[in-house]
Symmetry: C2
């Protein structure tokens, strides 16, 4: 009996999976679990399939169990609702994916293993189909599809090929070369309209069956931006920010931006009173009072019409080290953070799957240096001073449910969608937290600080949101 | 010589592709091109791979060549810029995809054809690997990867397995069962951090080579919404609209919405003067004057915190046939349009690929009925009265570059990302275009009508945008 406790094929009642019995007991054994753990761990996290993932506090790494954010009496109903929403989401995304399609050895067929794609309702030739089995008086080969129909471009009578334009194509001939000619020119026509589906097409003769995937999908429509004939920074980059009850800081920040005299700045403001801003390159938006931090961020980025957007907080300060052009060069990534007053805050995110919610692990630092950019590294999350591809940033977005303090939630939402980097050589300043003389401004700041406090209720709200929205179980 | 002019393997100087010479000339021939065209046409459009696509006007179908939107002197530079932006986009999306991976017949291996996926930096077992070739004194099998490293869970000395944790794993043994035990437990560890890449892993022995794909990607992070314990419509649906210089129409529309007393309504307004709206469930946003139609639409949807969003225009009129709940049921699709005063405007979109830009074909009507919903059909574009999955709608977005008249551009941007349906049994009313008595409102309406006119300059702008942004060549 072999212990394969950690393999993903384990049955649900945790009986070990038994491979074929060993001829010479003792020869065929697997590495002990601790060894496997050490082989496949990264930053101390075991990144290997398992039934259950766990979040264990260790050293100065805390851990949160997101269920704890709910009251005991609410939790059962929440679990049911989350499961229902998750299943709806999975259905629409075509998840979970079916188990891998395995090819048997010694199949007498040539066929395309990977890479046949067709747009919905379109037709493509299927490359690589051939039969190289033993000679026989009659060759009978059948092709079967589910989400489309089959045909062949070969000009052949119905006595040889039957089922043209149907889900099953039957070829029957004594002429081997004719058989291969027909196979060479088989076509697949997609008959479903879906975002992304995989049809498994089978090719069989006698008892040999080859199966291969045909991917049905429309390619994502490009959304390109014209940089203009002179490639001016103004046509490439828009600056975006959100402000709340800090008009003095905002104005100071806006003035400091004018080392770049004509860059458009988008300002989302959910303060009580609207501001009058005398700058023809500032686009100003007002929101319901206190609508929120991420709502304002999402608003601001929704208005950008250039390829790149530079996010800044309303209390930053541009200086001569704030070279936006340097960040533009690094945009093979999706988001590139800079440094705020010398602080290159970075963190990595790791995800482990599990049936009742994923485990998320956050570690400070970066994965590795970025090729070709000595001051930059690849990571998962950065500071609030970053340049981003507008299109990719908008696709992830800032969740307007996050009204007060929030930061890493954006990078968690972006996990899998955003490639993030961090460069220490582009630096923005930060206005000091000195108290204001003006009594009106001081009153606003006092109000601001109340909203800005990360209260217990807010922390609980955010943990509950991670539990439900991101289908997470826990985090370290 | 066989004419295969229409096959995608045609060389660039348009010489026909020659398959193997025919043994019996006259037996191996392909269907004539006209026959193939009729087999694979949909709505009169030939949906088959070709080098060049064309947009031909026919009947009452016009055609546009998007290059014509540019001045003759500008066009060469625009072409260069578009090609550069397109290549940047392709690089970042991993396009164009490599040609299909073909399996040769009679490979002595079992292996996974499709479906092996691994998250970046994670490890997975590779299922299905086996060797069933002829007996031999020594079996030497090599596995090679490029974007990751290989290992095996088998507890085996280095004399048998070399290269553990490297890109190439060599197995050398005289024991066939041991070989297969090792293969059965091979693991793949991803060592790159990318959004989505496919590694081709090869498995060879003597002259036999099997190749199979391993997909490296992080799954998209779920963004679920809690419908709450009572599943109230208010917690499921937010209404969104944009208004400009039509306060009277907006107010009439808002009042009619109150058949639903507590649904949140988001209003984006880029008029000159802000409005005061006495409705605690209306969220009101102001924008720079005349910032634009799609900018306002993108703003409004960026603020939604519920699972679904209902888009309405500011001159609609809710009545007793406006049953939002009916649309909620149909949301296996992403966007479901209703009917405006009995008009179920629908259109289908077809895309043909081509090297110098795609051809887009638009036809009125629908693809087919929607299973289970007798009043609904599947299509590509609908009216401006629709319910949508907030998350999917935000991922496509409304392009803020479209300031004035625009409609189908949203559905074109959404091609491949949105599944669209249309239901005739949910009807909203439309306020009549009668002139206003009040002189102030009349002045606003006059202004509105100027902005609303689809001028020649605007049409040209939109055609140019299709050329550059969507990499289109022409449309019918």
């Amino acid at each position: 009996m072999f212990r394969s406790v950690y393999l993903y094929t384990q049955s649900s009642n945790h009986k070990p999976w038994l491979p074929h019995p060993a001829p010479a007991a003792g020869m065929l054994k697997l590495l002990p679990e601790e060894h496997v753990r050490s082989l496949f761990a990264y930053d101390g996290i075991w990144l290997f399939p398992k039934n259950q993932c766990k979040c264990e506090a260790s050293g100065h790494q805390g851990s949160y169990n997101f269920e704890d954010a709910y009251g005991q009496s609410d939790l059962p109903a929440v679990k049911v609702r989350r499961q229902a929403e998750f299943e709806h989401f999975q259905r629409r995304e075509g998840l979970p994916r079916p188990p891998p399609l395995l090819a048997q050895p010694n199949l007498p067929f040539g066929y395309p293993v990977h890479g046949v794609e067709v747009m919905p309702l379109h037709t493509v030739p299927i490359p690589g189909l051939q039969f190289e089995g033993p000679d026989a008086p009659i060759y009978e080969v059948t092709l079967t599809a589910s989400l489309g129909t089959l045909n062949t471009l070969a000009d052949i009578p119905d006595s040889v090929v039957q089922g043209r334009g149907q889900k099953q194509l039957n070829i029957s001939t004594s002429n081997r070369k004719l058989l291969n000619f027909i196979l060479q020119h088989v076509t697949y026509t997609s008959t479903e309209y879906q975002r992304c589906r995989v049809d498994v097409v089978s090719l069989e003769s006698k008892s040999s069956v080859a199966k291969f995937p045909v991917t049905i999908r429309l390619p994502v429509m490009p959304k390109l931006y014209d940089p203009g004939p002179e490639r001016k920074l103004r046509d490439l980059v828009t600056i975006a920010t959100k402000t709340f009850l800090r008009p003095h800081k905002l104005m100071t920040m806006l003035q400091s931006i004018r080392v770049y005299p004509d860059l458009t700045v988008i300002v989302a403001d959910d303060s009580k009173e609207p501001l009058k801003i005398n700058d023809s390159h500032v686009e100003y938006y007002t929101m319901p009072y206190g609508k929120g931090w991420f709502a304002g961020r999402n608003l601001a980025i929704s208005q950008v019409t250039t390829k790149y957007v530079l996010w800044v907080d309303d209390d930053f300060l541009f200086n001569d080290k704030t070279k936006i052009e340097v960040l533009v060069d690094v945009l093979e990534l999706d988001v590139v953070g800079g440094s705020v007053l010398g602080n290159v805050f970075q963190f990595k995110l790791f995800l482990e799957h599990s049936e009742n919610g994923d485990c998320l692990h956050r570690r400070s630092g970066s994965f590795w240096p970025l090729d070709g950019f000595p001051s930059c590294v690849v990571t998962s999350g950065v500071v609030n001073f970053f340049l981003a591809h507008t299109e990719r940033l908008q696709r992830v977005g800032f969740d307007p449910r996050l009204q007060r303090v929030a930061h890493s939630e954006f990078f968690i939402d972006g996990l899998g969608s955003l490639l993030v980097g961090s460069c220490s050589n582009v630096i923005v300043g930060h206005q000091p937290r000195s108290p204001v003389a003006d009594p009106e401004l001081a009153a606003l700041e006092k109000s601001y600080n109340v909203y800005r406090t990360n209260t217990k209720a807010q922390i609980q709200f955010k943990l509950a949101l991670h539990y439900f929205k991101n289908h997470l179980q826990c985090a370290t």
